[in-house]
Each structure stands twice: as C-alpha cells, then as structure tokens.
Subunit: 115 residues, 2 copies
C-alpha cells in the first residue's frame, strides 16, 4: 500500500507487468489496457520466436539491440526505432542476433493468453 | 523504387512516418496499422503538451529521457521503460524535463488527424 505506483491505474513502472517466458531466452512483461495490450519483450542472444500467428493485430518497435524479423515472406534486420505492423493471421518469427535485444509490442484486442 | 523498405507493408524504418509538430518543440512521426496507430514522439527540453483529451485509448512507453506526465489528477516523473495507459476521454498533459526525450505512443482506433 506504500507504493504510489499501485495507487492509480494510469502508470506502470519499468519491469512491471505480467511475466511470461514464451520461448527459451524470450520473456515478456505484459500490461493490458481496455482494448490494447503492451508487451515488453527481452531476448537473450540467439533466442528465437518460432513461426506463429494470431488473430490479433500486432504493431511494435525495437528499443535496443538487433533482431532478424520475418513477417509473411519478408525478412529484415531491425535496430532501435524500427517499427513493424502485422495484420491478424499473418505468420511471423523473430531471431535475436549478436546480443540481447528489447522490443515493445502492442496487440489489439487484448491477448487473453498473456494476462 | 529502389528502397526495399517501401516494397512491403510490414516494416517501417526508424525516423519514417507522417510528421506532425503538435506543440512547439514536440514532433510526432505516425504509422497507422489497421486499427492501431504508432506515434514516435520527440520532445525538446522544456517542451510541453498541454491538457487535452480524445476518445481514443492511448498507451505508451518512455524510450529515452525524462517526462513529467499527468493523467487525470495523477502526476509522475517517468524514465526509460515506464509505461502509461490513458482511457478515452481522460485529460492528460506532458512536460519534458532536463533534456530531450523520446516516447512511443499507440492509439486505438487510428487517429485520423495524425494520418
């Protein structure tokens, strides 16, 4: 009760959120809003998110490090500030390259499996 | 036509997007998806976003620097990795503190005024 950050619904400090390890070396911290969900993703070097898809729309931004990102049949190496947008149902995968990486994803609607 | 980044709809390089100066010293670069919009916001030191509200839900994350962020009647000083969530219709304002700052906002639905 003494932590002022938990006394309002508006702000979430860095490192908080619901923790899920989605693949070896890949951890997410998720925060739901009303109709969107933020997911801060940390990748260990060489970790991978295998091909998958979901009906939710996904957009995101690289925060630090480098990722090889494949959406549909397009592959790019991304660095800080680069963005992506993945329509629902499109297969995508990710591989962390030569060091750790951090990305921010956002989903619409909320991913109930990541609450 | 020779830029591979414009040959697919999935990836947007850092610094691209639709540019809008929304207040003195505050610039955004926006990228629409289907039902969400990303907005990379750069603040010059001391710049402010005055009290405003919109029906769109807004969530976001500090990328670098420090911001004094007020949502409703709650004010916090935010640094890298801190998150916010603003339900539609809630008044909010922002002030950049001792240096430049960068934040990522996401809106649902798309803000037509930022296309």
């Amino acid at each position: 009760m003494s932590d002022p950050w938990i006394e309002d619904p508006y702000f979430i400090p860095a490192g908080a959120g619901s923790r899920h390890q989605i693949f070896p070396g890949v951890e997410i911290r998720t925060t739901p809003g009303e109709r969107m969900m933020l997911s801060v993703v940390t990748f260990e070097p060489g970790s991978v998110v295998l091909d998958h898809s979901h009906p939710h729309e996904q957009m995101g931004m690289m925060v630090s490090g480098r990722l090889e990102f494949t959406i549909g049949d397009v592959t790019r190496v991304l660095g800080p500030g680069d963005l992506w947008r993945i329509p629902g149902g499109i297969v995508h995968r990710v591989r962390a390259l030569d060091g750790p990486a951090v990305a921010l994803d956002v989903f619409h609607p909320i991913r109930e499996d990541y609450l």
